[in-house]
Symmetry: C2
Subunit: 137 residues, 2 copies
Amino acid sequence: MNDPISDILQSKGLRATPVRLKVLEQFQGSDNAVSPKEIELRFDQIDRITLYRTLKSFEEKGIVHKIDDGTGTPKYAMCIDKCDEGHHHDDHVHFHCNDCGNTFCVEDVEVPYIKTPPKLKVAKTSIVMNGTCEKCQ
Amino acid sequence: MNDPISDILQSKGLRATPVRLKVLEQFQGSDNAVSPKEIELRFDQIDRITLYRTLKSFEEKGIVHKIDDGTGTPKYAMCIDKCDEGHHHDDHVHFHCNDCGNTFCVEDVEVPYIKTPPKLKVAKTSIVMNGTCEKCQ
DNA sequence: ATGATAATTGCAACAGCGTTGCAAAGGATG
DNA sequence: CATCCTTTGCAACGCTGTTGCAATTATCAT
């Protein structure tokens, strides 16, 4: 009944506090995955610890998902559709541009079925591509 | 002309020092990818900094490659065949077992061609699978 | 509204990983 | 043997992420 962003939080059982609203808002405003550090710098009066906790609870509640793009710096992006508490549907491909350093989800690429040795029980497959993004060509 | 392990080092232009021999030896002895921490604990009298530098130079010379298995802890494994200075052929699939925590290379799985939006120039594709390994079933 | 309850925040302090500078030790080479 | 360059080990630092704790704030029932 308030704004849509508050509603997202409340529907996940999280209180709509200023920090959370701000962080969530900037997730919606960007289509890149962002690192905790980037968020911290974007608002320069946010508490580092609170931010980490915010991201953690967002992840647990299925609001954002964590992306490991191979740079060593974890990034977060909003979950698109059916992410749920404790269950992420982030089986899409992630792309990391070596030029601009941005990382984003490639929605329109289908994750292929990969035939694996029958001895391995595969629960999840993560695919990260590196290269040059559209803007940097 | 000495032992094969020394030869590997010398052929890459690295001196065969005790630390390097020990580290390289244990890479050959295991088919798992190992973290710096694990190596450090395995020999309990190795200097942390020296180990990091050793791994770095091994990686630069194409002796080992770094694996990011999504756990946040980097791991290293020996390069199999055609790795070269500054050029890693590590386009195989990596598997991380959620039970035993081991990570290893799945040699016999072919990395599929994945059709991507033409706007993206893909240079490298990393695939990490999670699940249960043979031993842990 | 008001007060009780529980969640959230912010600070201090800490732990772990990885890096750099620098001096000492060790091999290679002439 | 003397020199030079590589490698090592120590000290110190920076960054990321965590925990404990007290203060604050939102929620909910009354």
